[in-house]
Amino acid sequence: MWVFLTTEVMFFGGLFLGYAVYRGSYSHAFGMASEHLDIVLGTINTAVLLCSSLTMALAVHATQLGTRKTAVMFLLLTILLGSVFLGIKGVEYYHKYDESLIPGHDFHFENADPRHAQIFFSFYFVMTGMHALHMVIGIGLLALMAYWTYAGRFSPEHASPIEITGLYWHFVDIVWVFLFPLLYLIDRSGSM
């Protein structure tokens, strides 16, 4: 599992690198564009995701202790929090659509060079989109784990599938931990 996660680090690392280079080149437009992201929803979503990591860790803990019902409950709670995250993300995407901030023909931006701002939003949608896709896969895995736990397939001696799903879920959380400050917080003080 760690080998897989290392490849994932490289995958997201490439996106982060591309973002960093463009941000260095067009820092003014990126700062302006970043202010169009909803910081309240972004912060709430970060908190929701951190909560889901806690419930995931507690689900692994419950499996290791062999308390099946608690494990199922925490897995379902993790699924719920993950879905709330995706829901809020969907609302944010809709706002961007409403404000004509989706890169493409209808893109509209006034405060800085629209071409540069468009690059920011391209990164925003690709990076958060890939992250959301990972969450959808994670929720699918969690649903399977919840069912298997309910069916009694796991025990303290055989808890690896839950532990591995947990590793994946925490990894997705870590990606967001970096995405949030880079996309939402880079220029709130107007330094650039």
């Binding site: 260095g24 507690l58 803990h61 947990g166």
Partner: protein, 101 residues
Amino acid sequence: MSEHIIPRKVYFTIFGALMVLLAFTVGIAYVHLGELNVVAAMTIAVTKALLIILYFMHVRYSFRLSWVWVGAGFFWLIIMFALTFSDYFTRDWLPVPTGWK
């Protein structure tokens, strides 16, 4: 994976620390620090990531092989960033020779 069972209290403590760091990073983003804003945001993000990796992902209690893979991922990431940055962010340091533009 790890056979070590971490007490529940540890998870809640780490979660509390993560929430405090989240509030801190949002707060400090509004303070005018110039270039240091990025440094502060990234330092907090790395701290949060480390807390999650070491405790939620149990790496602190895991086999050495896990350490190697986690380390390798970030090690190569650092090389990739360092080499790319040393290109892109030093391009303006020397004037372009006349006749090249």
